[in-house]
Amino acid sequence: MTTNRDASSRQGTSRYGLQSWICIGLLIVAVTGLVTLHDQVTVFDFGDPGPDARFFPRLVLWLLTLGALLRLWRYRRTPETAIGDRSGWLRVILVMTLMGVAVATMNVLGFVVTVAATGIFLAWLLGERHWLFNPVLPIAVTMAIAWAGRHMLNLPLP
């Protein structure tokens, strides 16, 4: 695995890095899919010849399992992208959590409040401290979008 791709080059390398963790994650998902295939895909057999609804998922999940295993084996001695600094991950997890909360509470608090709050927090996290760009810009953009969505696109925004 090459180590100087995308944003990863800044974060250095590691013996077991992001690539291995992603492959292990894919392996777990594929194996779980294969194990739960019978429960998740109900097939009503009328004796028809040919493949049923489980045929294609089984094929793809087996290929995915093999692909993930092959990837882990092929690049086992190659340095990989390091997971990265903890503060970066913390910021991403914070934003993800905030967005998750925004989605969960959108029906109660409304589109404008939740989405503008997300925008304000994001701008603050990215280092914006000027009052015009934070909070005025996210609030103005959210209100403009909400107005356009309701009146021009006829969307039932929460």
Binding site: R5, L126, E128, P138
Partner: protein
């Protein structure tokens, strides 16, 4: 048909859509890190209530404008706005540092327009006959065609073949969620009614390309600052710009034609994108030139060649997308989603059922060159300010637009959750250097591949003989095998040479 299509274009909304699409495209393309894929993904929800022709012209205008816009930051900052503009930066930025930024931008603009018109003419000539040919395809042939497209994307997407294959499989696996395409049985829905429709394409692609960019920016924190332009004024006193007119273009005619041909025909092949043809054209222009030493030092032909090639890809990539329903790269995959939302399903039947709309779009693609030139020339002076927009102003707005866009597809918060999930997955995969376009194309082609494969096997009572009896299917499998062997041989030779060196 062509005349009817032209009549359909004589509408004020078409004009407004074309003008705003090109302007937005140039601005977004000029901002480093943002490209046509992100721009189109975010703008799709705006087109929901628009009629098909203006909405698709708006998005195609963004596509064309963004490809040219990428060259602005490449020339002025040496930071390509889009990956395909990297070759333009080699000579474009050298010209800019010599005080010839205005000349470099004009050469890039005119070459872009030439490449675009050339590829659109090829699109008009090739797309309809190819679609007519595909009308005779049954399930076995369609299976072979989809398999061919997916394998070509894996082989030619650049980087690791194994990574591209893995991403394609992830995309195909994600396409399984929802109702089975033959019997309508729910699969991996975990009892959720909302999941029975499967993962909607638009939220997934907004997540993969827009929200993942936001997460990458959040991960990088405050470290990212816009690069400073070191090129001085673009025009007027103190510059060394030479006039760029018809004579300049005439002198470059062979470079423009060769580069446009390369861009168009490489663009037709799925998975290669516009970066490869840009560099191939640049190298070819340098090897053909009698001033080879000037390349890299500020040679206008070094700007014209990659710009003509990467813009010619736009028309080329639309050939398989419109006639066969096979997107060649991430941008055409997003545009395919926009066509489907407008009720125009790309594929062999598109020309039969919506001929006027399709030809109107073809004609508009050529006519879009006019606003592209006008806005391009008008925006040169403001370009320096556009490319210096700070990420902390831009990315909160992108996040807000992404949430709105995902919700507006089906007025569903489930789609917003899907978008966020796709954003997280896209962020992690991009940090690890896994390619996203194969994932998206796998997601799009997975369900039709399954449908045609199972239909073929059902009609032959489960026997694979149906594929061996079809000369078209066998031909496609043979071409796929030859491509795979060719790539393996090339990689073996490269490794062998590296070991010897």
């Amino acid at each position: 048909m062509l005349l009817d299509a032209f009549h359909a274009l004589l509408d004020i909304w078409v004009l407004i859509a074309a003008l705003s699409g090109v302007a937005v495209g140039i601005v977004i393309g000029a901002i480093p890190g943002l490209g046509p894929t992100l721009a189109i993904a975010l703008l799709i929800p705006v087109t929901f209530t628009m009629p098909p022709i203006p909405s698709l012209i708006l998005l195609l205008g963004v596509y064309q404008g963004a490809i040219f816009g990428g060259s602005i930051s490449a020339i002025l900052l040496n930071v390509p706005g889009t990956p395909s503009s990297a070759a333009t930066a080699l000579d474009g930025h050298a010209m800019a540092r010599q005080g010839r930024a205005g000349e470099a931008l004009r050469v890039a603009l005119y070459a872009s327009v030439f490449g675009n018109i050339f590829s659109c003419l090829v699109l008009i000539v090739l797309a309809q006959p190819l679609a007519s040919l595909a009308l005779d395809f049954g399930p076995a042939q369609m299976t072979a065609l989809m398999a061919f497209a997916l394998i070509i994307i894996v082989l030619f997407s650049g980087g690791s073949i194994l990574d591209a294959a893995l991403m394609t499989l992830v995309g195909v696996a994600a396409g399984i969620v929802g109702l089975d395409p033959i019997e309508g049985l729910p699969r991996f829905t975990f009892g959720s009614f909302a999941a029975e429709d499967g993962l909607a394409l638009i939220p997934v692609l907004i997540g993969l390309f827009a929200m993942s960019e936001v997460f990458l920016q959040v991960f990088a924190g405050r470290r990212t600052t816009p690069p400073a332009a070191d090129v001085g004024p673009l025009s007027g006193d103190g510059t060394s710009n030479r006039p760029v007119g018809w004579l300049t273009l005439w002198k470059m005619r062979v470079t423009l034609i060769v580069s446009s041909t390369i861009g168009t025909f490489i663009g037709i092949l799925p998975g290669i994108g516009s970066t490869v043809p840009a560099f191939v054209s640049y190298n070819l222009a340098r090897s053909r030139s009698s001033h080879q030493a000037r390349f890299g030092q500020g040679e206008p032909e070094g700007v014209a060649a990659p710009e003509a090639a990467n813009n010619a890809v736009t028309g080329g990539a639309l050939v398989p997308m419109l006639s066969l329903g096979i997107p060649g790269d991430a941008v055409t995959a997003v545009i395919l989603g926009a066509f489907m939302l407008q009720g125009l399903t790309p594929g062999p039947f598109l020309f039969q059922q919506h001929g006027v709309e399709v030809y109107a779009i073809f004609e508009a693609l050529i006519l879009l060159s006019i606003p592209c030139v006008l806005f391009g020339l008008a925006m040169f002076r403001g370009a320096v300010h556009i490319i210096r927009i700070r990420p902390r102003h831009l990315f909160p707005v992108i996040a807000i637009l992404a949430i709105f866009g995902a919700f507006s597809v089906n007025n569903s918060l489930f789609d917003v959750a899907v978008m966020l999930g796709a954003g997280v997955i896209g962020f992690v995969l991009r940090r690890a250097g896994f390619p996203l376009p194969p994932l998206l194309i796998g997601l799009i082609l997975g369900p039709p591949l399954e449908q045609s494969l199972r239909q073929a096997l059902l009609t032959s009572a489960g026997s694979a003989d149906i594929f061996f009896r079809s000369p078209i299917a066998m031909g496609l499998f043979a071409v796929t095998l030859l491509c795979a062997l060719g790539v393996m041989f090339k990689r073996y030779r490269q490794t062998h040479r590296r070991d010897q060196a």
